[in-house]
Symmetry: C2
Subunit: 230 residues, 2 copies
DNA sequence: TAAATCTTGTGTAAAAAATACTCAAATAAT
DNA sequence: ATTATTTGAGTATTTTTTACACAAGATTTA
């Protein structure tokens, strides 16, 4: 088989996607990292990602890589920044389009694929390969901004959840503390939650109602224009 | 001179930047467009932009193109989305990193460079080349979101401006109407404006105070964390 | 088994912000 | 001089935010 080459009059960069995958364990925000098996940065942790093919958009490429490396399909992803420092990859010029994904931690069977994948709490993330530290900071920044306009938190929680869990999530994402009573009031005021019955999940002391995210109401609300304030 | 070629084992896309340049004429939000002199889309209007060089980041490339095509230097730019549909350019695979710039309209001497550049009010923008219609919509969306977190409006106004002008700008960007008195109250409450003396600029009837954006106070406020609400 | 402790559901009073106005002074046009 | 327009300043009402209080259910401790 002949070594077919692709030639251009001007030099072209490589284009990759990288995906910061956020999960929530009930207390802390986590990210999924894979250990690099090859140089450069062999043995270092990095975000899943890879080269974008010529016949796919970056969104399609990101979803494909996500599936290949974690088994996740149909995840919620959002592009947040493109990193293009000429020297960000020591091998060649690589421009990467960065995404974040919001997934339920239990949906990912970490570590059973070819790639060694592992969840890390935000405050336990090791030093990362390439400029992925910077990418993580940018992802967090965007996530925090997004939460003001969309109720993204629901992608991270189980189908049914308590107000406590929801509050824990918001506190983890925004790194703030809310008054329990006021948080519930505000959250329920949007009418995008449906109250169910009892819970057993955490049962620390008194039982708490379970809620479900009501997508219909949310879409109605979105039409009218609104903002989630915290 | 020999035709040097750049060869790769795998095909590589081209990477460009495009810049949506916003300006404000005191009433309406405007964008700067250039008329394409070559195919494809010859004769159509498009955003200034061009190929990213191998030794510059996309940010540097966008600023360089901005200077080449409009004479603007040191403009405020922000990357907002990367467009990567495989068929967005009929010639070859081109991925474009899109920016928006906020400039003072009077700083651009439109139409004196090689490229024919012209300002268009948002509601008078013609059909654009490539997927630039989509790019414009995305830029506006981002601009509207950004205004909640940063007082970006000041990049679009002259050094000294009246509350009326500031209100007009916010109304133009967000496409809403505010109560004059309440807008002023809210705006002054942030303490990022410094009141000056009188005006002559518009002088429609009664003279209005001029204000200047106070960057120091703004940075203090930003440290504490805040949000511009409208 | 009773007491202490923790968590959740519910509510309330005070403070802050948003909203909808009013009114007079300054200026330009008639 | 009269009229119309625009700005500065202010007020009253409503709504939202914030900081708490308290009792009920459940678990742990004594």
């Amino acid at each position: 088989m002949e070594d077919k080459m692709y030639s251009y009059k001007y030099p072209h960069p490589s284009v990759t996607t990288d995906c910061v995958i956020f999960g929530f364990d009930g207390t802390k925000l986590q990210v999924l990292l894979v250990e690099r098996g090859i140089e450069p940065y062999k043995g270092k942790w990095a975000f899943p990602g890879g080269f974008t093919k010529m016949d796919e958009s970056c969104e399609e490429g990101a979803l494909r890589e996500l599936k290949e490396e974690t088994g996740l399909t149909g995840a919620y992803i959002e592009q947040f920044h493109t990193f293009s420092d000429p020297n960000r990859d020591p091998r060649e010029r690589v421009i990467t389009v960065a995404f974040y994904a919001l997934v339920r931690i239990q949906d990912v069977k970490a570590g059973d694929d070819a790639a060694k994948a592992e969840w890390f709490a935000l405050d336990e993330v090791p030093q990362l390969a390439f400029d992925h530290d910077r990418i993580l900071r940018a992802a967090l920044k965007r996530l925090r901004e997004r939460i003001h306009f969309e109720p993204i938190g629901f992608e991270l929680l189980p189908e049914k959840f308590t107000l406590k869990q929801l509050q824990n999530l918001y506190e983890a994402i925004l790194d703030v503390r809310f008054d329990r009573s006021n948080f519930a009031k505000k959250m329920l005021h949007f009418n995008i939650l449906t109250q169910l019955d009892e819970t057993v999940w955490p049962t620390p002391k008194r039982e708490a109602y379970l809620y479900r995210f009501n997508e219909e109401s949310y879409n109605e609300l979105k039409q009218k224009g609104f903002r989630l304030e915290f």
